[in-house]
Symmetry: C2
Subunit: 332 residues, 2 copies
Amino acid sequence: MSDVITLKKISQLLNISISTASRALKDHPDISDITKQKVKELAEMLEYEPNPFAIQLSTSHSNIFGLIVPEVSNLFYTSFIDAVENESRKIGYTLIILKTDDDPAIEANHIKYCKKQRVAGLFACITPGTSNFDLFQSLNKSSIPVIFFDRVPDNSNCNTVCFEDETAATIAAEAILKKNRKKVLAIFAEPSLSITQKRLKAFQQVFQQYPSAPKLNIYHTNHYENTKEIIKQQLQSNDRPDTIFCMSDVILTYAMKAIHELQLTIPDEVAVITISNSDFFPKLYTPEITYVETSGYKLGVLALSAMMTCVKEDVPYQKLYVDPYLVEGQSL
Amino acid sequence: MSDVITLKKISQLLNISISTASRALKDHPDISDITKQKVKELAEMLEYEPNPFAIQLSTSHSNIFGLIVPEVSNLFYTSFIDAVENESRKIGYTLIILKTDDDPAIEANHIKYCKKQRVAGLFACITPGTSNFDLFQSLNKSSIPVIFFDRVPDNSNCNTVCFEDETAATIAAEAILKKNRKKVLAIFAEPSLSITQKRLKAFQQVFQQYPSAPKLNIYHTNHYENTKEIIKQQLQSNDRPDTIFCMSDVILTYAMKAIHELQLTIPDEVAVITISNSDFFPKLYTPEITYVETSGYKLGVLALSAMMTCVKEDVPYQKLYVDPYLVEGQSL
DNA sequence: TTGAAAGCGCTAACAA
DNA sequence: TTGTTAGCGCTTTCAA
């Protein structure tokens, strides 16, 4: 106990008052240079570290952000976390990472926890089951800014950072059109997800605009386990596709399994293009897969900058977007 | 401000003292059941949340663990984090995750930060450059227990949780011997890493014990980029290996690239076995790769239980180990 | 069984 | 330019 250095000790040693010491340490203009020097030197020597809890208690302000994600074993979220971590550290903030496993009950607990901890701000990717945004609202009431990312509420009275999901699909569709392919198998996730709907719609729109567009075969997968088999069936049919579009990384891995099992060569026998959250999966294969990147890292950087404007000043709710872009491999 | 419920408010509303309210809430035996009831009900109704900073300030005890990892975009560490997160939540603790990018300077900052935050305990995977353990020691002096995991200091006066690296390699080697193969290409990481040394030694030992063991060709890779080319060369040589052993997931991905590019079939033309931190990579391929699992998740569970014994009581330093085990795919 | 009061380490308004 | 004081919300000892 006695080895912990406090302002009190420093002030006693220097025969000054606690408040003088406190002010000297933060360069308050009222304090003389001599005193400042003395205090700072001693503090340095003693390796004085202010007690963050005491500061928090008297200022009711913390340097901790909460970050709620569905999972941590997912490259998209980890790259997002990575970005927020890096940027936060630069400005002296730390992160508490809370994982929901997509369970609304756990999510609710996490939100309460953040409120209780008086975090300086909260980043949140909502679980699909979240219907009750009152809890999030209650944070705003406590003037804790919330930045939603990736999966965000539909309503307009909140801050969000997202990808232009439509654009990602549009870019992919246009890349395919350029190659004069005959038949495209496009694999999307569950139709109920809003991200699926957006990407699907944009993708189809491009095809509809061009009379010479290849034939389009849409397939939705909800049970990942059998995705591979479905794709294999398609690839073995008479009217087999010469191009596969995957809406996401997971879908890509199943498509690649199917292609490998049938020993088809890419891109000659079948071309592949995907939308991906990072370069990891596309670069894992030979040849490297052409993909539209929707980078978690960039999203994280944007999220933090949005957070900082909220923390500093009272701004109206914002919807921000990260633009996806095409990365050419040799698979298309 | 006035919307924050404090003990003071509750006590005023009930016309009792703050201390009575405080004690009632924590079932202090001195307090009458009636009072307890009244206080608890009101607290519930008002959604009273104790201010953690005030608690911390008066008890100088927090419910936050620090967790220092090299990176967060790595399945091994994320599964470790995942485990520690899950287990911590069960007992009401939260995690602050700090990432070093293997930079000793950042690591030093993180340690200081944890000390300053008075975390209840610290999990740490050290950076290769760490030579100065004084900082870690200083935590112990502040009676903050430190559990090292995965990459741990050599000296004995610290708590560690690790894999039996030797065992992992031994299991893999024995699995290969059972299959009566002729020639094995074993690919290891940099020889300077202690994990490489351990695995290499154990692997070789098994082969030396059996006169009928297959020919063994050891290769160390330090530049991951050219690993694929090296493997391809080997696979195309006259005396080509019929089995490849990979020391890690990353190495496996390069080996698989090489095999795919040469269009070899597994396991007929070449068999594959790896040591892996999760089921992710082995299951990514067709056929699924046989592997020895050294699971980050299990390590995390062990780390937390080690932490809890340290938190509760003064115990001597412990070295704990997780046993690896073989998971059979169809690649060997 | 309850209350009063001191204290955790710091900030900030006010006084000197 | 510096010191005094009250207070942040809670815990805990001591007294009633």
